[in-house]
Symmetry: C2
Subunit: 222 residues, 2 copies
């Protein structure tokens, strides 16, 4: 008999918020705050306290009724749940402006991600140092990605995204974050998430239009 395993199936919506809670808790820990409440956590993360309690309840019962949560302990539990008890190797493909910005982003190593490779298609770029790491050609990708659970980041223009996704998949990468516009096709066993600046701005514009009434429909006079 094994002991009861922690419950599976943390809702996706909860998983998406755990990094926020973790960041808030890490900040509190750095400022020497020993304990907190769902109320305080909620205010800092921009959600409601009931949501915080519900989210945390999926991980286990780490709070104390009438008292709150121990900051360091809760941070550790969330980090563990997110798989951050270990380091994650990351490769970035595409050393244009965006790729360079991502490579230089200090928040990565700080949060357990280790850049193990930077790649670019352009021979003129190969060998250059970006964030103290020499840029490699695409032919070097399979060797680097063979390391194991590598997370791949696509930071190329839209035109190259599919080819890069194919190269990453061929190299054995099964977790890809795509910053290029569009959605490259990948096999079912590969997870692809995407971030697109223009999409985010379009959503903002839509909501703004609805709020301010400056859109395309004429105001109906009474």
């Amino acid at each position: 008999m094994s002991t009861a395993l922690p419950r599976r199936g943390i809702p996706d919506a909860t998983v998406a918020r755990l990094p926020d809670y973790l960041r808030v808790l890490t900040g509190m820990a750095a400022r020497g705050i020993p304990s907190t409440s769902s109320q305080q956590l909620a205010a800092a993360a921009g959600v409601r306290s009931a949501k915080v309690r519900k989210d945390l309840s999926y991980l286990g019962t780490y709070g104390v009724r009438g008292v709150g949560y121990d900051v360091e302990h809760l941070a550790f539990q969330i980090a563990t749940e997110l798989g951050l008890a270990r380091d994650w190797p990351v490769v970035i493909v595409g050393m244009g402006n965006l790729g360079r910005a991502l490579a230089a982003y200090g928040g990565l190593s700080q949060r357990g991600f280790r850049i193990i490779g930077l790649f670019d298609h352009d021979p003129a770029m190969v060998g250059q140092l970006v964030a103290d790491i020499p840029v490699a050609g695409m032919d070097a990708l399979p060797g680097v990605a063979a390391t194991g659970d590598v997370l791949g980041v696509i930071a190329t223009p839209a035109e190259s995204a599919q080819a890069v996704a194919d190269a990453l998949v061929s190299a054995g990468v099964t977790s890809i974050l795509n910053f290029a516009p569009g959605t490259p096709g990948v096999p079912a066993h590969v997870e692809l998430r995407k971030v697109d600046l223009a999409t985010e701005l379009q959503i903002l514009a839509f909501h703004k239009m609805r709020r301010s009434g400056t859109g395309h429909w004429a105001q109906v006079a009474p």
Copy 2:
């Protein structure tokens, strides 16, 4: 009597997908494809065809049963619905690596966004050209943002995000896209969306761990 207004209240989940459909349709139009189906659209956007039809049904009935959708007409309708019949002015605050990458990102002007101002706190940065636009100091923000429906982008380190958000709100900006880690507080009438590289990677890592079983829980032998 006015004619019936188009129905309000397009679901948020649908609004978030409309930019994807629009991008796919724009690509089809550029390749001279005259019409398409929910099936093809779905494949290109990475969703199911039923979802495409349901999403499009919130905009109106722009398809033809047995035939499909006219690519140009549908693209126009989605663009109109998203408020892209007009240009949207954008200001970017923070001219580090990320801010420079965003400023140089051609996809913006291509999709109806016009950068009307780049700002940085650092006097040494002020006056420099980024993407052919001179960087201004923060004191110039109110004048530029007074234009009207400006969308604000925060591309600073986490420490400055709250101060920049405050400055944007003071300048009258009510739509903000935040690339800095963390969630600055803003008044209720201001919409703040956020994009965080580390958060996205943490979600990928979580799912990867669950898939590959390389996480912290030992495999239970049978």
